[in-house]
Amino acid sequence: MNSELIERLKSIEMRLKESNTWFRLLENYCRSLNHDIFMINMSLEDECSTICRIQIDSWLCEIEKQQTLNMKFEAIVSKLIAISDEDCFNEELNHHFSHISELDASIQDGYQSGRANRPVDGLMPCIVGENLEKDICKIEISCLRTLSNWKEWTERITEHIILVNKLVTLFPASHPFSSIPCSISILLNQISKFIVEQNKLEKTLEILTNSSTDSHDAIFGLDVLIIMEKLCPIPICGDEQ
């Protein structure tokens, strides 16, 4: 009986560690996304990117909360394993089992069938595929690259949208994260529209001011002025403070 309990506790501990890795990965991704949205917000000065930053901050707060609970439960489970190993288990430790049993039930129900399980604080609601981990690492590395035009920013935001849409599917509606990636996805789509428009302005300006387009310059003088007024500076890396 005792060995079965220890095995179950070890399984919970393993899943908690796995979840902790994922929370850290999500936290790192949110910070990369926040950095990009901060730069876009400084450039476009639009409401969408401002609200998106607020949403990312909310997500970071939720992740931190989940990480704290995860570490708390991990500590409890490791202590319980150590106590059970020594056969020192007594009735006074029973109250620790109430939440641990919720974790256990969620793991047994969801993880084994590979579906999103019942959301429990401190635990990722499902097993996350390796491909998603690679996608996150890839986008984090690409976030280190400085972008020089709006076309590259369009591609960067599209990458973020694809990844956030994948993350949306991970969290069931009752999970504390559920609505946040959804709203971030919607806001990123709106930001993408602004960036696509900036890309169009940039491209049009380049063609209109290109000297090889002979007599076009005089006719399009007013258009060049309108474009220059509407064209926002390309987001550059700055101090978030």
């Binding site: 169009k200 491209k203 049009t204 209109l208 387009t213 006719i219 309108i226 509407k230």
Partner: protein, 95 residues
Amino acid sequence: MLDYNASKSQLLQMKQAHLEVCQFLGEIDSDFHENAAKTLATRIENLVIEPIDIALKIIDVIEMIGDGQIPSVISLRWNQQILQALNNGGVKIEF
């Protein structure tokens, strides 16, 4: 959505027709009609052919940029200019 290819061929046809009229007016050499004909030819060049030329140049730039890649602030204005050239080149003009 304006069909730029159809507009371009229509504008080129209109331009050709008006150029032929201007050429005919330019060839008039009778003392009585010469001045009036030249004035009319200049008016056609300024009021009809020039807007058609501008519209054709706009379509050239649109082709260069790519259809659907025109910023919305510019697209509306350019479409209006093309439509105006199409209308003025195809109807009677009051002098």
